[in-house]
């Protein structure tokens, strides 16, 4: 059809709605079908088309008037002419299409007429053949009916004979019942029962016939006897659970009263379980009511063994019994539950006692395995006995908690042991020429061993939450155990305890009695606490949180910063204490030296006093000691040279003027004013103030304490001229050697100035020494 839709001249009404195409000249191949389709009725697609457009030249609602008006009014002349040409071209094409279609249809009509004529001839043949077939079928059915009628009678007789034979066999069995029963009652009661059960219904049904009744009575008698026998067996013999169950089952089948039976069953089972419990109890050492005077001997078997035996024997039996009770007596467990609960409680108590025997640290994995096995075995039981679940979980949790506590104590002991070692190492006399282990080594050893121990403990404890351990999935072990027991109870508690112990060294021995800790130990602990604050605590907590992930909803945990603050406070306290102890030692030396000397009658100074050298030596030693553990710290930059000069100028020329005699009634005000103004410019020095965590700060603290002591002591003495000069020499010497230790040499300088000024004030004849001489003496010394 598409091929014929070529261009062809044709005539038609120009206004025909069907024949006109779109304004675009390029028509598609479908176009010839369009008018035909429309002729045979609008397709569904077209029906569904939306609002009628009277100007659509291909649409069904085309209105020529409207179209014309629209075109005329909208289009310019050129477009109108173009459209007119296009329309006429289209009309011609459509006319030729129509002609082609007409020819085609005509051909088809002719061939269809031929075909119909041929069919008419064939049907006439077939009709005759169908009639033959129907006659044959009727003959076949008639002969088949004849055959079946001949066989029917014989079939019925056969069936009747088979029925008679079955009945006869049943009667035979019934007659044999009592004999069989008798035979089996002794040896195979179960079989007898089965047999009786089968026969019983029939016998009961035909009991009105005398012969059947005889059979029934006889079998009844036999069964009664059997029941009697079973009962005696139930009552007096110790049966294993399986036999017991069988026995009771048979009795039940014999229609014995269930109530009574269940009671007997339980008492039997009870006796058996009691025996097992007693066997377990025998393994435990007898409870010592008087308190354990002597430690009980170690239990014969380890805990795993104990739990194993306990669970396989007791729990297994209990489960079996409970299961069979349920099977036997149906859902009525009112009696079973209290019975099982009582026994389970006793078992738990026994186990608890056994766990309590696990005093030492022993092998945690063994304990965990034992608890795991216990818990697994118990789960079976717990399905029967929901009340026991909590008790069992609590038992396991308690055991775990107990173990964690024990680890905490072990850790503490370990730490104390380490400290003891360190003390010993510090106190050990060092052979000359051979240095003992340095403080950093000791510190590293201490920190490493403590951390190692803590890690080991964590690893042990982690066994409790290992994935293959059944009870690890309990909510307690997931949440509370991790947080409360391990994180808080073990890790946090240990860190806290460590801080407390460390503080104890600073606080405790200051009172009377206990031997004071050596200063080096204080220093060591201070560093340890500081390290904890800086890194170790966060490391430990991270480690713990990794190994024991805390639940979101778990109880509140101690945050790391709080612990850090605690450790820092402890470190601060220790370091302050260290400064005080060392400062006091030096100060004591200075005080004694000032108090015991006769400052009035002394001779002209030729040397720096030995005690000053000793002070410098001590402070140098302290410097070395602190330097081993703490950083250098910042010092205020100031050239030593200038300060030295400043000091010398100050002490030799200005100081006497500064503390000019202030008690002349005439001029008390101006001198006071002078000294006070000077004071205003120098900062107030806190002597026993907290120090920072660095060497310089520590040393400054010690020096401050020492010099302030010197100042106060000098003020209490009365000096002669040479006494003053001696103080001057000593002061200069100290200035020479101490400035380098202090963070701010002005502190040293200020204090020494005050010493010099006070000495001048306390001197009867204040004639200071020439500064060059002072320097000479100091350099020589």
């Amino acid at each position: 059809a598409a091929a014929t839709a070529g261009s062809g001249a044709g005539s038609g009404a120009a206004g025909s709605p069907e024949a006109t195409g779109g304004s675009t000249g390029g028509g598609g191949w479908r176009r010839p079908h369009g008018p035909l389709q429309r002729y045979y009725g609008p397709s569904t697609a077209e029906a569904a088309e939306a609002p009628p457009d009277p100007t659509d030249i291909n649409g069904p609602h085309f209105d020529p008037e409207v179209f014309m008006t629209k075109v005329r009014s909208e289009c310019p002349l050129g477009q109108l002419l173009a459209r007119e040409a296009a329309l006429s071209r289209e009309i011609r094409a459509l006319d030729s299409d129509m002609q082609t279609l007409l020819y085609e249809n005509y051909n088809k009509f002719i061939s269809a007429t031929d075909t119909i004529r041929k069919m008419k001839v064939d049907f006439r043949h077939m009709e005759a053949e169908m009639d033959d077939l129907a006659a044959n079928m009727a003959a076949i059915s008639a002969s088949s009916a004849r055959v079946s009628a001949a066989l029917q009678d014989r079939h019925r007789r056969g069936a009747q004979l088979a029925g008679v034979q079955a009945l006869l066999r049943k009667l035979q069995a019934l007659v044999e019942v009592p004999g069989r029963l008798r035979r089996w009652a002794g040896t195979e009661p179960a079989r007898a029962l089965r047999c009786h059960a089968r026969a019983r219904a029939v016998l009961r049904h035909y009991r009105h016939l005398p012969s059947f009744r005889a059979i029934e009575d006889e079998s009844h008698a036999i069964m009664a006897e059997l029941a009697q026998r079973l009962r005696t067996r139930l009552r007096c013999e110790t049966l294993d659970p399986k036999e017991l169950t069988e026995c009771v089952e048979m009795l039940l089948q014999l229609e014995e009263p269930a109530e009574e039976l269940s009671e007997e069953f339980l008492s039997q089972a009870g006796a058996r379980l009691e025996a097992e419990l007693a066997a377990l109890e025998a393994e435990l050492p007898a409870a010592d009511p008087s308190g354990t005077a002597t430690t009980p001997p170690p239990p014969a078997s380890d805990i795993l063994d104990f739990v194993d035996r306990g669970s396989s024997a007791f729990v297994g039996t209990l489960c079996q019994l409970a299961g069979s009770y349920r099977a036997l007596f149906g859902g009525d467990t009112g009696r079973l539950e209290p019975f099982a609960a009582a026994l389970a409680t006793r078992y738990f108590a026994l186990l608890e006692r056994r766990l309590a025997l696990e005093r030492g640290l022993g092998d945690t994995s063994l304990l965990v395995r034992a608890l795991d096995r216990f818990h697994r075995r118990l789960r079976a039981l717990l399905e029967l006995l929901p009340a026991g679940a909590d008790a069992a979980a609590a038992l396991v949790a308690r055991a775990a908690r107990e173990r964690v506590d024990r680890y905490l104590r072990a850790l503490q002991t370990f730490f104390l042991g380490c400290l003891g070692d360190v003390r010993q190492a510090l106190a050990a006399p060092r052979p000359p020429g051979k240095e003992g282990p340095g403080l950093p080594d000791l510190l590293a050893t201490l920190a490493a061993s403590v951390l190692g121990q803590l890690k080991a403990v964590l690893a042990y404890v982690q066994l409790f939450t290992a994935r293959d351990v059944a009870f690890a999935s309990l909510p307690y072990f997931k949440g509370e155990f991790c947080v409360t027991a391990v994180r808080e109870g073990l890790v946090v508690a240990f860190v806290r305890w460590l801080c407390r112990t460390a503080r104890g060294f600073a606080d405790g021995p200051a009172e009377r009695g206990a031997p004071a800790a050596p200063p080096a130990l204080l220093l060591l602990l201070a560093r340890l606490c500081l390290d904890y604050e800086n890194s170790t605590i966060s490391y430990i907590l991270t480690l713990t949180d990794e190994q024991f992930p805390p639940q979101d909803s778990g109880p509140a945990v101690t945050p790391g910063p709080a612990l850090c603050a605690e450790a820092r406070a402890a470190a601060q306290r220790l370091l302050d204490h260290y400064v005080q102890v060392q400062g006091a030692a030096v100060a004591q030396m200075l005080r004694k030296s000032v108090e015991t000397r006769d400052w009035l009658g002394t001779v002209e100074p030729r040397n720096v006093r030995a005690v000053m050298k000793r002070v410098v030596e001590d402070i140098t030693a302290i410097d070395v000691q602190v330097g081993q553990l703490f950083e250098e710290g910042v010092r205020r930059a100031q050239s030593s040279d200038s300060s030295r000069r400043a000091f010398s100028v100050y002490s030799s020329s200005r100081a006497p003027g500064r503390y000019a005699p202030s008690y002349t009634p005439s001029a008390p005000m101006d001198t006071h004013l002078l000294s006070n103004i000077q004071k205003l410019f120098s900062e107030r020095i806190d002597i026993f103030s907290p120090v920072e965590f660095n060497k310089v700060s520590v040393l400054t603290g010690i020096i401050k304490i020492s010099l302030k002591t010197l100042l106060e002591c000098v003020r209490l003495r009365t000096l002669g001229r040479f006494g003053l000069q001696q103080v001057q020499v000593d002061g200069h010497y100290l200035q020479l050697y101490l400035w380098r230790f202090a963070s701010d040499e002005r502190v040293v300088q200020g204090l020494l100035d005050e010493v010099a000024a006070s000495a001048a004030h306390r001197c009867l004849d204040p004639v200071p020494m020439e500064h060059s001489v002072v320097e000479l003496i100091c350099e020589r010394g």
Binding site: R512, L600, P661, P665, F688, E712, R762, L764
Partner: protein
Amino acid sequence: ARALTPQTAETDAIRFLVGTQSLRYDNQIHIIDFDDENNIINKNVLLHQVGEIWHISTSPADKGVLATCYNKTSDTKVMTCAAVWRMPKELESGSHESPDDSSSNTQTLELLCHLDNTAHGNMACVMWEPMGDGKKIISLADNNILLWDLQESSAKAVLSSSTALEGKGQLKFTSGRWSPHHNCTQIATANDTAVRGWDTRSMRQIYCIENAHGQLVRDLDFNPNKQYYLASCGDDCKVKFWDTRNVTEPVKTLEEHSHWVWNVRYNHSHDQLILTGSSDSRVILSNMVSISSEPFGHMVDDDELSDQEDQHQEEKVKEPLQDSVIATYEEHEDSVYAVEWSSADPWLFASLSYDGRLVINRVPRALKYHILL
């Protein structure tokens, strides 16, 4: 200057005596009058020519009588002696001279008697019998306790009994106090790190607090209202409170100062108020309610209570007053060597520092009313 004392026998005017220390000039005793209403300080000067004053104390019975410990220096030797003096009559009750002519008009003390110590060593301090008639004094000289009787209107001092501390170590007494309790038969002394109690009748030691402080004990004082309570202070920067019936542990320890504590004083009437002076140039006033004689604040009488139930309720709310530092006074620029409460006004105290500055302070008003009401 180190020596400061209130005029103990004076109960009306606020008056303190200050002794000076100077090696090269004549030493003086300044009588400081404080006029509370007008906030004016008056000063009278008495010459004390024998030497620099290390300790001063006044007679509880006679306003005009005082005792000093002073240094007598020769070229090669320093000796600390003690003497009893009488001040001129017109100064006894504080004549109000104008400050400008006080300097020109210096008067001299009248020597009553020397406490002869040639055999005993340096005098550390002189204590008057607190409740007595000004006849008995005790002086501490090196390691001796000397009990003197003043006879013939204090013109003559007779050594009535003495005892010596013997043993190893540092035995020099640093200070002592006479207990106002037990009929004035007990004193306490400090030497090195120990505090010792003595019975003045038998002159025997009755208790001893060994290692009361980590270092030297500088001063001590008796609680005026609780007979077994004692405060001590020392070079370990601490102030400790003791119950002398249990000498193993202090009842309480204060650690507020940052250097040696030189002085500790109980307030005479409100023994929760503790004053301490230290060489860190600070004076600290503490409120030790928990170990005072009025741990629950002022007691209300029963009949009063029945009338004023409501008031009592309010008081209950106030009651839990904590032990605390009330105030830290930082007026001093140098070490504070002496603090004293006024004998006349229980809310007033003076402190004295090395550079000679005397500061008079009051207990904060709010606290005063809290204690009173």
